[in-house]
Amino acid sequence: MSRNHRGGAAWRGAALLVALVLLVLVCALSVGLGAMDMSPANVISAFLSPDDSYSTLIVTSMRVPRTLVGLLAGAALGASGALMQTMTRNPLADPGLLGVNAGAATAVVFAVAFLGMSSLSSYVWFSFAGALAISLLVYAVSSTGRGGATPVRLALAGTAVGVVLTSIIQAVLLVQPVTFERYRFWAVGALAGRDLAVVWQVVPFIVAGLVLALFLAPSLNAMALGEDSARALGVRLGRTRVFGAIAITLLCGGATAAAGPIGFVGLAVPHMVRFLTGPDQRWVIPYSMVVAPILLLSADIAGRLVARPSELEVGIVTACLGAPVFMWLVRRRKVAKL
């Protein structure tokens, strides 16, 4: 795909700009559309002349926070997916692969089952701590022995730890139906019901992760040539891997803390993006950051409209949308090289 790509940097830059415009548009729709019918005039006046009307309240307390959460979580999932797929050289890598989601889920289950936590804002820190602890564990396990934390070891350790944690979660949920009742609403992945407090809780982590990811892109390009070539080009492999792991943890941990585990976005978006950009990480990562929130917010908007007067969680919608899109990508041509 990339080798005989029509355009150079100018073309890619222009397309990125188009994607950004699209993202702004989706954000506007996310604020404008919902379970409650509202005229555009009402939505605009909620910002320009906020009063104590119902529509102002809906826009400011419901739609703006969930749009911000979608934006942050989407960008984080997209960037972390791209990072993980490159660093583990595994085209199927997503937040599930390195045990990050399992870590977050385990922490949330324990918080609910044994500490009696039951609100989203209290889940955030547990989820984040779980993601962090398990990432460290996976990294530690994979770096023991000779050769250090190679991509294969990382993936194996992540999968192994993930399986163990999933069994623990199942065991707790099986004997505690009450915990299951709370957990399943977190585990489906949703943007609804989040307030601005949740946004402020995760913003620093996600922004730091995004910045780190952008800085890592050139080294990742060199690593894609093979480790010997990368070393020859002056890349410090160990350091890149550590920073990469930190970025992934910040991004996945932040996204999962804010929205719960959301599938397919982190997996499918980098593939969709490479289709446009080729394998250059300096483009793949920023594109993923823009395209993923477009997908996530669109899915959330769809979820608000299809099940009125109730709503469908975004995690369900992304699964339904993501699967066919991904199959189409795979079938249409060979998946663009990592």
């Binding site: 419901m62 009696g116 139906p177 009450v178 009742e181 709370r182 949703a190 009125r308 007067p309 109730s310």
Partner: protein, 340 residues
């Protein structure tokens, strides 16, 4: 830690009650020790054999059963009301209390074996109790293998409502009356329960025709609130002389995924009276602090009542035995709205 335990307990109660309510409860199979001789009831020996039609088929009962297994709250309460203590009853909560609070004087483990109907029902556990009849739950009704296994132990009756929904408390009572050969007592109990409900507007005449909504916090951003005409709770309110909130009725007429409301649709909660609760106090406290909550008319007027998980769960399953318990729980709001 205490707070956590209370919360967990409350959640347990609601989960069980809600599961029972949503999934067409009706499956509490408890082998009951007959405290009275059932055949001595008003139905007399002439009432047998009797055939009961239910969602899993038809079941013939040849003689008045002494040992009753009742696997849902509706069955348990009807059985108790007719003077028979079941030998097994569904667990009302996975934590404490094991049995519904309004039955605490009549049901005691291990005399009545508590059966967990949320998990897979243990056929062995029920067989051990040598029941004469089993009143099944949703699980018993929809799981053909389980139904067949239980039917080999004793005549088994599935849930009796339409579309795998529970029957009304009156229907349940009449069915149990037939099975136990106590139809006359069942009729008397129905009249007694209905009189308790209609008595509300005698006590508070201003309540007549007032509108009401019942709201349970669910996943973040969504509440459970509906006005389906077939909903037992809606019928329960109507028997008290109350009507569902007009905003909810309007949504119901529009169709779609009714029964649940996005927070964006909370303006449909426009009744005169509201009963609201969640799985935990923490969750409810967060909701009460939100501006959206403060905008609900009943909140502005002070005619709402926050119920704990135990009570909000119990409301989902009105039975002949919990009517006084529910009326007592609702009293503060009924008094307030009834005096306006």
């Amino acid at each position: 830690m205490r707070g956590a335990r209370t919360a967990a307990l409350a959640v347990g109660a609601v989960v069980l009650a809600l599961t029972a309510a949503c999934g067409a409860s009706g499956g509490s199979a408890a082998p009951s020790q007959a405290t009275t001789d059932p055949s001595a009831g008003a139905g007399g020996a002439g009432a047998f054999p009797v055939t009961i039609h239910h969602a899993a088929g038809d079941t013939r009962i040849d003689k008045a059963p002494a040992r009753v297994v009742a696997l849902s709250t509706g069955w348990v309460d009807a059985t108790l009301e007719l003077g028979v203590v079941p030998v097994a009853a569904n667990r009302w909560s996975t934590t404490e209390p094991v049995f519904a609070p309004w039955n605490k004087d009549l049901l005691k483990a291990p005399e009545t074996a508590p059966i967990n109907t949320v998990a897979d029902i243990s056929v062995e556990e029920i067989a051990k109790l040598r029941p004469d009849v089993i009143f099944g739950s949703y699980q018993v009704t929809t799981n053909k293998n389980l139904y067949a296994a239980l039917s080999r132990i004793a005549p088994t009756i599935g849930i009796i409502g339409e579309n795998n929904q529970d029957g009304s408390w009156q229907e349940i009572l009449r069915t149990v009356g037939k099975v136990l050969g106590k139809s006359a007592e069942a009729e008397a109990a129905v009249s007694k329960g209905e009189a308790q409900l209609t008595g509300i507007t005698t006590t508070y005449p201003a309540l007549k025709g007032k509108t009401v909504e019942y709201v349970v916090l669910r996943q973040p951003g969504t509440v459970q609130a509906g006005a389906k005409a077939t909903d037992h709770l809606v019928r329960f309110f109507q028997a008290m002389g109350l009507e569902p909130a007009p905003g909810l009725v309007k949504l119901e007429e529009k169709g779609g995924e009714t029964g649940f409301l996005s927070y964006e649709q909370l303006d449909a909660l426009d009744g005169d009276l509201m009963f609201v609760g969640g799985f935990s106090d923490e969750e409810m406290a967060t909701f009460e602090k939100s501006e959206l909550f403060k905008k609900i008319p009943t909140v502005r007027d002070g005619t709402y009542l926050v119920l704990d998980a135990e009570k909000i769960g119990a409301m989902r399953t009105p039975t002949v035995r919990n009517i006084p318990y529910l009326i007592e729980a609702m009293k503060p709001a009924l008094e307030k709205a009834g005096s306006k």
